[in-house]
Amino acid sequence: MDSTFGLWVQGISAALEPSNLLFAFVGCIIGTLVGVLPGLGPAAAMAILIPFTYDLGPVPAIVMLSAIYFGTQYGGTITSVLVNVPGESTSVVTCLDGHPMAKSGRAGAALGIAAIGSLFAGLVGTFLLMVLALPLSSLALRFGPVEMFALLVVGLSLVMSFRGGSLLAAFAMTMIGLMLGLVGLDPVQGAPRFTFGNHNLFDGVQLVPVIMGLFGISELLASLEERSPQPITRKITSLLPFKEERKDAALAITRGTGVGFALGIIPGMAGIVPTFMAYALEKRVSKHPERFGHGAIEGVASAEASNNAHAQASMVPLLTLGIPGTATLAVMMGAFMINGITPGPFLFVDHPEIVWTVIGSFIVGNVVLFILNFPLVHVWVQILRIPSRYLHVAILIFCLLGAFTLRNNTFDVMVMIAFGVLGYIFKKLDWPTVPLVIAIILGPLLERALRQSLELSDGDASVFVTTPVSAGLLGLAFLVVAVSVLSGLRPVKRLSSRFSNPAGKADQKP
C-alpha cells in the first residue's frame, strides 16, 4: 500500500511540473472551446491535435489530450445552459434544467454548480481510478490469449449493446470496423492483406482520418442542414449559487458521482446513460420532483457530476485492460500507441512513471479547469456569438490539415473525406459509428488473440469454453447481447428518441 501511495504522490508531483502544467492548461482551454462549439466533438478535436503532439513526448501529449477530453465536458455544459443545444451528447440532460435556469436569469448559478459538481466528480473519480488501477491491471496480467480474446469480445458486445440504433446495425458496424482493422500487414505473419497494391494501406487504415471524418466532417455536414440556434444573451452575473441551492446540490453531486463512476467503468457505456440515470434518481429522491425540468439546480448538479465521473471511470478499462469504451478513448488509445505505449495491463509494469503521471494530471487538469472556467465564462459566451459559417470553415481547414500532416500525403485527406460522407450517411441511416471506430482499434488485437489461442490449443476451439475465465467472460458477452435483444434494453435509443423530438419538449422530462 505504501508503494502504491508513493506512486500516486510521484505521479501527482510529475504532473505538477511546469511543462505538464502548461500542457494541461492549454488542453483545458482547447477542450472547453471545442465543447462550447457545437459541431466538433472531443474525438475529432483530439484526432486533429494528435499531429501537434508528435514532438512533445508521451507524457505531455497524453496530458494535453486528457485535458482536452475533460475540458469538452465542461464546454458542452455552457452550450447546454445558454443555447439549449448540448455541445456534447453527454450534456443532453443538463439542458433540461440548465436552460430553464438560464431563461430565468440564473445561468451563472447553473454554470457555477456545474463547475463545482464537475470538480468534485473529477477528483473523486480520479481517486477511485487510482485505487482500482493496480488491482485490475494485476488481474488482467494473468490473462493469456484465450482470456484476452474473451475480454475483447465482452468489450465489443458492450459497445454494441449500449449504442443507439438497431442491434443488427450495431453488429454490422462492428464487423465493418473489424474488416477495416484487417487492412494492412497480417499481425502474425507480416503479409499484406486487402491493400490492393496501395502502399498507403500497408500500415492499415489510419485511425485519425477515420475519426476526423466520422466525428468531424460528418457532424459538420449534418449541421449544414440546421438553422443556427440563438444563445441567451442576458449578462451572466454571479456564478455562485445561493446557500440553499448549494445545500440542495451537495447530495445530488455525491449521488451523481457514484452513479457516473459505477456505470462509467463498464466498457462501452455511453456517457448519456449514467447522466440520465443520475438525473432520474435525483428526481425520484427529491421532495419536489415537479421542479425538475423547470430549473431545478439538483438536476444540473447530478447530471454534470455524473458526466464527469463517467469520463474518469471510462479511463479504468482503457488503462488497465486496453479497452476503449468510446470513440474519444479510441483516439486516446491511438495517441498512446503513436507514442510507443500500448494501454493495457502491461502499461503499469512497463511504463509506471508515464501512467501515474497521466493519472496525476487528471487531478491537476480538473483543478485547472475549475479555476479557468470561473473567470473565462464570459469569453466562452462571446465565442458562442460567432456566426457558425466561420466556425465551420475553421473546423474544415483544421480537419484537412490534421489529416494531411499525419503522413504528409493526400491519401489520408481523401480517407477523411470518404469517412465524412460515410459518417453522414450512417447518421441518416441511424447506424451507430462508435462500434466501428472501436472495432478498428480492437480488431488486430482480437485477431492476434484468437490465432494465438488456436495455435496453442492445436486448433481446438473448445479452449474458449473450457477455460473458466474465458467461459465466464464469453457467457457475460452472450448475456449482454441476449438481454439487449430479448428485453429491448435500448436505453440510448429510447433516450435519443425522446431528446430529439422537436415537437415534444414536454416529453423530454424523464
Binding site: 459541431g39 514532438d55 447546454s80 443555447v83 439549449n84 443545444v85 448540448p86 443532453v92 439542458c95 438497431s166 443488427l168 446495425a169 453488429f171 454490422a172 464487423m175 465493418i176 473489424l178 474488416m179 484487417l182 502474425v188 505473419q189 492483406r193 459538420l220 455536414l221 449541421s223 449544414l224 442542414e225 440546421e226 440556434p229 440563438q230 459559417r389 465551420h392 470553415v393 474544415l396 481547414i397 484537412l400 490539415l401 494531411f404 500532416t405 485527406v413 481523401m414 473525406i417 465524412g420 460522407v421 450517411i425 441511416l429 441511424d430 447506424w431 480488431g443 490465432r451 495455435e455 486448433g459 435509443k493 431528446f499 430529439s500 423530438n501 422537436p502 415537437a503 419538449k505 423530454q508
Partner: protein
C-alpha cells in the same frame, strides 16, 4: 452532437430525412452485402490454415461472413425504421427550400474539400487554403468581399500558426 429544441425557437430544425425511409435502409444493406461478399472473396485468396494454425485468411473470412449475414439480415428484415420524427407542417415550401439549400451546401462542401485536398501539394497550402476559405464562405452565404478577405488573411494566419508549432505545410512552386 445531439440537439434539443426550444419550443419557442425553431433552432436546429432538420428537414425531413429521406434516408431514414425504410427503402433507403434496405438499399444501404444491399450495398453493404455486396461489399462484404467482395471482402469474403478477397479473404478466400489468403491461406485459411497454415502449418502454425489459423492463416491470414482465417479471421477475415469469419468477420466478412458475419458482416454479410448481418447485411442480409438487414436487407430481409430491415434494421429499425426509426429515424427523426416527422416535423410539424408549418411552411412546407420553406422546408423544401431549406432542404435544397442544405443539399447544395453539403455537396459543395465535399467538392471543395476534395479539390483542396488534391491541390495542397501541387500549388501549396496558402493558395489552396485561401481559395478553399473563400469558396466555402461564398457557399455559406457570406458577402464576396468578406469571403475574399477572410481567405487572404485566414490562410497565411493558419500557415504561420502551424509553422510556430513546428508543423511544416506544403509550399507551392512560387515558394509560399
Amino acid at each position: 452532437m445531439s440537439t434539443l429544441h426550444s419550443s419557442q425557437a425553431p433552432a436546429g430544425r432538420r428537414p425531413t430525412n429521406p434516408l431514414t425511409r425504410f427503402g433507403a435502409k434496405r438499399l444501404a444493406a444491399a450495398v453493404l452485402a455486396i461489399v462484404c461478399a467482395a471482402f469474403v472473396l478477397e479473404a478466400s485468396s489468403y491461406p485459411y490454415m497454415d502449418w502454425l494454425g489459423p492463416g491470414s485468411g482465417f479471421f477475415p473470412m469469419w468477420v466478412g461472413s458475419l458482416c454479410l449475414l448481418a447485411a442480409l439480415g438487414m436487407l430481409i428484415f430491415g434494421s429499425s425504421p426509426a429515424g427523426n420524427p416527422p416535423l410539424p407542417t408549418d411552411g412546407e415550401a420553406d422546408l423544401a427550400e431549406d432542404r435544397t439549400l442544405a443539399r447544395m451546401r453539403i455537396g459543395g462542401t465535399i467538392v471543395i474539400l476534395v479539390l483542396t485536398g488534391f491541390a495542397l501539394q501541387p500549388i501549396g497550402f496558402n493558395i489552396a487554403a485561401a481559395a478553399m476559405i473563400t469558396a466555402l464562405l461564398l457557399l455559406y452565404g457570406t458577402r464576396p468581399v468578406i469571403a475574399v478577405l477572410a481567405g487572404l488573411v485566414g490562410a497565411p494566419a493558419v500557415f504561420f500558426l502551424f509553422a510556430a508549432l513546428h508543423v511544416r505545410l506544403p509550399v507551392g512552386p512560387l515558394g509560399f
